[in-house]
Every structure is written in C-alpha cells, then in structure tokens.
Amino acid sequence: MPMADEEKKAAEPAVLFESVTVSYMNNPALRDVTVALPAGRLTSVTGPNGAGKTTFLRALLGLMPLDSGRVLVFGQPVDAVRKNLAYVPQTESVDWDFPITARDVVMMGRYPHLRMLRRPHERDHHAVDRALERVVMKEYADRHIRQLSGGQQQRIFIARALAQEADMLILDEPFTGIDARTEETLLDLITKLSREGKTLVIVNHDLSLLDRFDFVLLLNRTVVAAGPPDEAATPAMIRRAYSGALAHADYAERLIHEGDINEFR
C-alpha cells in the first residue's frame, strides 16, 4: 500500500496553478502563473519584495478572487480541501498580547474538526499533546505566548498546523527574525515533516537556504523558474528574478488605473 500511495503522490501535484492572474485594485500582482508544486516535498516560494509571494500564498489558500485561471489543491478546488491546508502566519502579524496560552493556540488547529458548541474531545486533546511533543514544546504549553522565545513561538504555530492533521503546511516567512541556530532547528523540523509525507510550501526570501529545499519556485510577478534547486535556483535565474521584472508594465497599469491621460497623448 505505501508504494501505491507514493506513486499516486508522485503523479498528482499538490498544488496546481493554471494561468492564474490576480490583481489588487487593477494592479496585477501575479500575471499568468502556471506551475505545479510536488506533493510530499519541501517547496520554497522565493522572490524579491513585491514579487507577489504573499499574493501567491493568498491565492493558494483561496483568499483572493482570481482575475483568470484556476488553482487546484490535491486535484480539487481549495474550498473542498480547506481542512487539509494548515496555515502558519508570519510572526510579525501575530498579536502576542492576545490573552491565550501556547496550548490554546495549538488547540485552534482542532477547530476545523470540532462541531459547534461541542467541547474538545479526548481525541482532540491527544492530538494537541502529540503536536506539542513533536515540536518539543510540551513543557511550555501553559505559558502565555508572550513568554516564549522567537523560535518557540514559531514552533507553537507549527504545532497548531500539526494538530490540524493537514497534509499541506503553508508557512509565511518562517525564517525572518530568528538567529542562525534557531533557523537550523526549524529547518530540521520542517525537513523531517516533509520526509514523513507532508507537503510544505514555504515563503522564503533567504537565497542561502534554497539548496535545503526539494523544489524552488522563483517568482517575480510571474514564474521565473520552477524545479529542483540545482535547476531552478541557478545564479542566472536568480539574477533574472531579482531584476525588477515587469516594472514598466506596472507603471503603465498604474497610469491607466489613475486615468492619467498625459502619458497617452
């Protein structure tokens, strides 16, 4: 059976973008993106600031209306597989003063499985305990989230994703604002998870980490390169991704949006 699963996984991409264009207020943030991300692998979504990495994530999570194209996750529309997607936010976007303990945060991962008004079942508590053990955070579980170090805060949110028992984990810039050793611990954990069959899609702008991934998507408003790091993350490709692609197109779009007739006379 495991063999069959493996084969199926290899055949079917975890994420499929087909000619996806997304824009904010008529400003295209992603243009005609077509890419397939492999299942059960560690993927880095990489590109310069404003390359549309966050938009890519939001489109993947089904949080943005698409202008055109479609997104499939495990072969289905996102809405059909939401429970199977776990999202780990950027640490800067979290309200660390919220009245909540580490265990509470992890329990949130069980919410999609809980029925309204029902209290968490014993099974849910077990899932939370297992997730906490998995990220070595059990002894800190009853602390307020403010009382954790940066790396521990990161791990608690990963534990939340694990408690959700989703097949795909989507991490937004997990390597920002942590020191080199914490980064190493985090990479170890992430790599282990992907070896266990989880699909991980990670927004990451640290070029020095690319060879630690199975698959790299170089993004600059559209797909610059996609593939294993030794094919996609070559110096030439990276230079291309980081050289203000489509800047003129953006400028023209903005003028059109503003109705600035002078440039068009």
Binding site: L61, R82, K83, L85, Y87, P89, P112, L117, Q164, I170
Partner: protein
C-alpha cells in the same frame, strides 16, 4: 479623629434601599445591559475596534430619529413593543449604512481608514441632529436622553427588550465562541480554515448595534462606548485567558451598571456618567493592583530583580578581581547599581553566608566564590556569543554586563558555541564546577 457621621451612613444605606425598592426593574435592566456590553466589549478591545464601536454608537442617531418620526406618524406614539422594534430597525439600518459606507470609502477614496470612520460617523450624527430639528412643533425627541441616557425612565417595554437581547448576546457568543476567538487572534487562519468571516463579522456588528440601542436609555450613546471598552480593558489586565477575560468583562460591566445606578440615585448625580466613572475606577484599581500587569506588582518585580542583579554583580566582581575589596572599591566596580540596592545586596549575601567581612573589606566564602565564578563564566560566554553575532569587540562587554544574569541560558550558549575555552578578549572562560552541576540556577 475625623470619623464618618453615623447618620450619613444610615441615610446612605436608606437611600440605597429606596433605590432597590422603587427601581428594581431599572436596576435589573441596567445590570443586564452592562453585562452584554461588557462581553461584546472583550472582542471589541481585542480586535482593536474601539473607534468603530464609537462610530457605530453615534451613527445610529439618524436611524433612531427616523424610526421615531415614522412611529409617530403611523401610531401617534412610541409606546409598546412596536416602538421598541421600530427603534431597533432604525438603528440597525443606520448601523448598516455606516458600516457599508465606511467599507466603500476606505476602498475607493484617497483617505486613511480612521479618517473615513471619523468622517462617516460625524456626518451621520449631524444628519440625526438636523432630523431632530425638522420635527414639527410639539413632538418631543430628547437629544440629551439619547446622549447620556435616563435609566430612571426605563419602562417595561425597554426591560423586555433588554431581557431578550442580553441572553441573545450570550447565546451568540457561546455559539460563535471559537469563530470569534480565531477571528480576533488570527483572521488569516480564520479565512484559510473556512470560517465564514464576513457572516461572523456582520452578525457581531448587528448584535453590537442592537445592544447599543438597548443601552440608549441606560447610559446613552456617549457613555455606551465607555461601557463597551472600559470593563473589557479592565479584564484584559487581569488574565491571560480569553474565556476568563470574557466573563470578567461581563461581570465588571454588570457591576458598574448596578453600582453606578444606586450611587447616582443616592448622591443625586446623573446615572450614566456614574456608571462610567465606577467602571473607570475599576480600571484604575486593576491598572495599579493587577497581579500580572499592575503597576505595583511590576515595580515590585523590577525591584526584586534589581536587588538580585546587584547581588550577582557583587559576587562576580569579587570572583573576577580575586581579592577582598572595601566598600568604595566595590561601588566603583558596580557603578550601574543604586547604592541602596548594593547595601541590601551585601547584607543579604552575608545572611546567606556567601560573603564574609575581613578587616573592613569584603571577601567571598567558598560557596560565594563558586557562584561568582559561574557568573564570570556566564559573562564571558555571553561576550563570545555577542562577538559571534558580529557585535563589535568594544561593545560586547557592556552587552554581557546585563545578559550575564541570564546564566541558565548561558549554559545553552556554551553547547551551541561549541564549548569555547577563551572569550574574545582572550580571557579564560572558567569551567563549570561540579557543585553548580547539581543545578542551582533558580535563584
């Protein structure tokens, strides 16, 4: 001695009893609405919606006035349940118009979100005041009552509407608790995991508008904002759990309404403001005395830490200098400590037998020396860590001077740095003694 005149106390109690006797229904209504506002307020505070709550409560005025005019036109009065439901409908309509125009403007106009809120709610309020002035002579719409409330005038119909809306709010929060929690804490995850965020948000705003309308007669529009924010802000200082914050907030809201009502009656002062001032007093008490975040406890914790640090500084300096020092020398080596903390530290170290006096100078006992060496070790490990993190060499000493007190963490650094033997200045990093291995990092 200045003691309180027993006659005054007696008459205070008597007047309070009178309030309970004649205004039981009004007190019960105020208490319920205080609880409802308090519980909704917990989420308003956590979602940083204080300004929106303020806007909403002001913006319902034109809706209320329109409903009043319409009711007056159809029935010739505002009495009975029709009056109450008409008022609700008008307020909800105005609330909806406000929410939609704020949303539309912030997407399409070149204006910041808070400016948009400011523009819309003052415009709605202005419109309401104009509508009042257009009333034919003889109709009586009391703007002051709208603004500040008049709880003594709560009628049975108001009581009934409050007795419906309060349990409804509690039921809504119970049903939507997890959704509201995740929406407040992590809206992205709420969206990603399929929580119906828009539905939840507008349901919440609807309950908020309905509750504020019900609160019109108790505290009035201006004060209802305070009853929304203040009890919740008080609870926020006392707990690290959302569920606790929620019921504490409801409790403070209810208590403020009840106590405010009675005190206002006894002292013959306006009721709404009395409720708000009592809520503010609770906030002040929590601000000063909260065991977690209160000013007093924080100051005490800081003092304890300061003294602890002064003690460790004394131990470290004596261990590093490897000789006995007199009082002035010790002060010179530890300029960052306050003299008072230093004296306290020295006498405490004597008491704990870590320090001994040697003909006018201070020296370490055997155990004191072990502790001191551990701190020297910690200091040098932190210097190594800072230098490793590219902090310039002339800056690492000052940094380590503070960080050395985190000596348990320093042991972790020792492992991570690959067990260094010398610090960046070339000084030996003392070995860990077997004694400390037994583990006494706690104090």
């Amino acid at each position: 001695m200045n003691s309180v005149d027993p006659a005054v106390v007696f008459s205070f109690g008597e007047r309070a009893m009178e309030a309970f006797q004649f205004y039981r229904m009004q007190i019960a209504a105020s208490t319920m609405i205080g609880a409802a506002l308090g519980m909704l307020g917990a989420f308003v505070v956590l979602r940083r919606m204080a300004l929106i709550g303020d806007a909403l409560s002001h913006a319902i005025l034109p809706g209320v006035v329109l409903a009043f005019m319409l009711m007056d036109f159809i029935f010739g009065h505002m009495e009975g349940l029709w009056g109450v439901w008409g008022l609700f409908a008008g307020a909800l309509l105005a609330g909806l118009v406000t929410a939609l125009s704020i949303g539309w403007l912030s997407r399409h106009a070149r204006a910041k979100d808070d400016s948009v809120i400011g523009i819309v709610f003052t415009a709605m309020f202005g419109l309401g005041v104009v509508l009042i002035s257009l009333q034919p002579k003889g109709t009586h719409f009391d703007l002051t009552c709208f603004l500040f409330g008049l709880p003594l005038a709560i009628k049975l119909q108001d009581f009934v509407s409050i007795a419906i809306i309060t349990p409804a709010v509690i039921a809504f929060i119970a049903v939507a608790y997890r959704g509201l929690k995740i929406l407040s804490f992590d809206p992205q995850m709420a969206l990603a995991s399929g929580v119906r965020v828009n539905l939840l948000h507008y349901a919440f705003m609807g309950f908020l508008a309905a509750t504020v309308v019900s609160a019109l007669r108790t505290v009035g529009v201006i004060m209802s904002v305070a009853m929304l924010i203040t009890p919740a802000a008080t609870a926020y200082q006392l707990t690290n759990r959302l569920s606790t914050m929620l019921w504490l907030s409801g409790l403070f809201g209810a208590l403020s309404a009840a106590v405010g009502f009675v005190v206002a009656f006894v002292l013959n002062i306006p009721t709404g403001p009395a409720m708000v001032l009592f809520a503010t007093a609770l906030f002040g008490i929590a601000l000063v005395l909260s065991p977690k975040y209160g000013l007093v406890h924080r100051a005490l914790r800081r003092r304890t830490l300061r003294r602890h640090i002064a003690e460790e500084d004394v131990l470290k300096v004596l261990a590093r200098e490897e000789r006995a020092l007199n009082r002035d020398e010790l002060r010179g080596f530890i300029p960052q400590a306050q003299p008072k903390d230093l004296s306290f530290a020295v006498s405490n170290l004597f008491a704990r037998k870590l320090l001994r006096r040697d003909s006018g100078t201070y020296a370490l006992t055997k155990e004191g020396l072990a502790r001191g060496m551990m701190l020297v070790r910690s200091h040098r490990l932190w210097e190594t860590y800072l230098a490793d993190g590219s902090v310039p060499l002339d800056g690492i000493h000052d940094g380590a001077e503070r960080l050395e007190h985190a000596h348990n963490l320093a042991e972790q650094l020792y492992q991570e740095l690959g067990k260094p033997r010398v610090d960046p200045h070339g000084e030996d990093i003392p070995r860990r003694t077997p004694r400390e291995n037994a583990g006494d990092g706690q104090h």
